[in-house]
């Protein structure tokens, strides 16, 4: 009993002290003081890739907001939004899922007026334009689903509005991961994924909507099929693609399929697989083990993807304010710089640049040789001085996106066929 009383006393006192301290901190950094009076906790749903404890600690320090991560896989993020929209306060979800999410009405449009840097979000994502040039628009490109008609609208707007579907967090251009030491020759085309030369040594991602895109890139590159839109295939195109994949599988082309990011790292690091679908942080992870792994620019271009923040319909009041503050903070540079060191790109380049050392900016964004050793956020060595980022600069890489992750109109059919392929 005495214990409880004592604990209570301490809590009240520390609370007062704590808020005074936080108020002070806010005064210094210039962030709004609303969260100092009463601590706010935001439940942040997303895949583990963006959910770093360093970011959570920094937010706590800068804004006084506690971030509680709910790490799940890509599929489960979508599932949770549809089935349990009350179970999170903030979600980091991919643009390609939006056509299946927006009609549910479980997410609300993001108010551009409350996002300070909304007008500075890169045109790569908002308009599909880089340096005045158009970027490939096959698949569910972010700029196709960037705006909503209204806050609670269930339809996308073709023209810019005040309501954004998502506020972009990270995005990138994906390619094939390669073990140059075991492949032994330069790889320049997507078709190499299905080249019998690598029989039993290639792997494909077992997420139907992404796997089919990588396969389509490879098949188109080999000249077997010319797709209308790789990201929105017709039934006939899906049939042909799956037939080719099934044949390759029966011939023993694939060593394995993977669904989890870590599986792809293990397959590559152990040498079981020497060429496969891969994500940029996975390549970084293999390299930080001291194993050579490249993420080459291929002639046919990249498969792009982007994820961003959305808020659930039920969010209101203090939590909503805190969520907007957090998102504004996220765009203000520190988080962008942090994630850039993992190989991602950030939505507002100007603020990110401020938080990266010049040599880091040159390496990650300008495609220039590193003047010093490049380190990952956890301090491990990613690249030695002199290295150049695979694929070159931001402009070069982003301008060469050929298609984007997508949910096709024939999604249901695709999944049936994909299951057939796995069972074959």
């Amino acid at each position: 009993m005495t214990k409880t009383i004592k604990r209570r006393g301490v809590t009240r006192r520390t609370l007062i002290q704590g808020s005074a301290m936080l108020a002070g901190a806010n005064a210094i950094t210039g962030f709004p003081a609303v969260h100092a009076d009463e601590p706010v906790t935001l439940r942040y749903l997303g895949t583990a890739v963006n959910q770093s404890t360093d970011i959570a600690n920094k937010v706590k320090q800068d804004l006084g907001i506690t971030i509680q991560y709910v790490p799940v896989t890509t599929d489960v993020v979508t599932k949770r939004i549809i089935t349990q929209p009350e179970s999170f306060d903030l979600v980091d979800v991919e643009y390609f899922s939006l056509p299946s999410l927006v009609p549910s009405g479980n997410l609300v449009g993001m108010d551009a007026k409350k996002i300070k840097l909304a007008d500075q979000i890169t045109t790569v994502l908002s308009q599909g334009i880089i340096d005045g040039n158009k970027i490939g628009n096959q698949g569910t490109a972010p700029f196709k689903v960037f705006y909503l008609d209204g806050k609670h609208s269930k339809a996308f707007s073709k023209t810019p509005t005040e309501w954004l579907t998502l506020i972009p967090t990270t995005y990138n251009a994906d390619s094939l991961g390669i073990r140059p030491d075991l492949v032994g020759r330069p790889i320049e085309h997507w078709s190499e994924l299905l080249n019998p030369e690598f029989k039993g040594k290639s792997a494909l991602i077992n997420v139907p909507s992404i796997g089919i895109m990588d396969a389509a890139m490879a098949i188109e590159s080999a000249g077997t099929i010319k797709y209308g839109d790789k990201g929105n295939q017709t039934k006939a195109e899906i049939d042909k693609t799956i037939d080719i994949l099934t044949q390759a599988k029966k011939n023993g082309q694939f060593r394995a399929f993977w669904t989890d990011f870590n599986e792809s790292v293990n397959l590559m690091a152990s040498g079981e697989v020497i060429i496969q679908s891969m994500w940029s942080p996975a390549v970084t992870a293999v390299r930080s083990k001291g194993i050579k792994c490249t993420y080459t620019a291929l002639a046919e271009g990249y498969r792009g993807w982007c994820s961003g923040f959305a808020l659930p319909r039920s969010l209101s009041g203090k939590k909503q304010d805190a969520a907007y503050d957090f998102i504004n903070w996220f765009l203000s540079g520190w988080a962008g710089a942090y994630l850039s060191r993992q190989g991602y790109y950030s939505a507002v380049l100007a603020t990110t640049k401020k938080f990266l050392a010049p040599y880091e900016w040159d390496y990650w964004y300008e495609g220039k040789p590193a003047t010093q050793d490049i380190h990952a956020p956890n301090g491990s060595l990613t690249e030695k001085a002199g290295a150049v980022r695979d694929g070159g600069s931001y402009e070069t890489r982003m301008s060469r996106i050929a298609c984007w992750n997508s949910v096709m109109d024939e999604n249901e059919y695709l999944i049936t066929k994909w299951n057939q392929f796995i069972a074959a």
Partner: protein
Amino acid sequence: MMLDGGLQRNHASETERSGERSDLRGDRTQRWFSRLTAYWQALPMAVVFLIFFMLPLVVTVIVSFWRYNEYSIIPAFTAQNYLAVFDKCVGSLPNLCTTFATYLSTLKFCLIVWAVTLVLGFTIAHFLAFHIRTLTMQLVLALVCIIPFWTSDVIRMISWIPLLGRNGLVNKTLLSLGLINQPVEWLLYSSFAVTVAFVHLLTAFMIVPILNSMLRIDKSLIEAARDAGASGWQVLVNVIIPLSKTGIAIGSIFVITMVMGDFVTIGVMGGQQIASVGKEINVETGYLQFPIAAANAVILLVAVLAIIYALTRFIDIREEL
């Protein structure tokens, strides 16, 4: 189990009493009370079962008959989900459709793993029950069999990878012994790897129930068989196996249900190249196709229940318990 016993006893005493034609009031209330007690005792389990098993199951069955689109499920009756599962299954014979091929592959694993774990589990249990003299030693060795369960089964599964991989321990040893010229590929990400992992994960589920049955065998029965001139083999076939039937049946049910419903082991060890019903359901729910996933789950349930029903035709578990 206890409930059944209690009811039987009550029943027995009831007939006895009615024979005596005693209808004393107090006696009746007492009887009524004792019967009620049995139900009270069974209530918590029944409630847990109802809420966490029956209710979800009923919902699954209902949803399996609903329509759906990309982002919602629509409560309108349709058998389409079941038709979709068996799409082109009859027409394309003798070529197997996805569903038949998947079930055939899962059943194949089921049969192989069941046979191997049964032989292994029975042998180990037999050794523990009849060849180890002291109870302490029996307990210690039984515990040793369970130790792998102290880590997660994912870890136990993954630890096979550095062993069986292309550059794994087995291949390196074989290469250095000069038995092979290049690494053997079928060791990992193959049916073989899946079987090895299953046997590793599931043998304990065979050992424990069989050991439990064997420990309950009255040793004097074996002595009697010996005295009557039975050989070791005859004792095994005519005494031990019949009396271990319950354990064998329970172990078999564990192994079969686990293999049928698995998708993690088949996924990891098969390099996701081998289909399983569980993985199919997993992919479908991942894409919010809950009704078709529910239909698949119902079909899987029916298949597993059919196997268990067939098993209980041979062994009446309830009677043996």
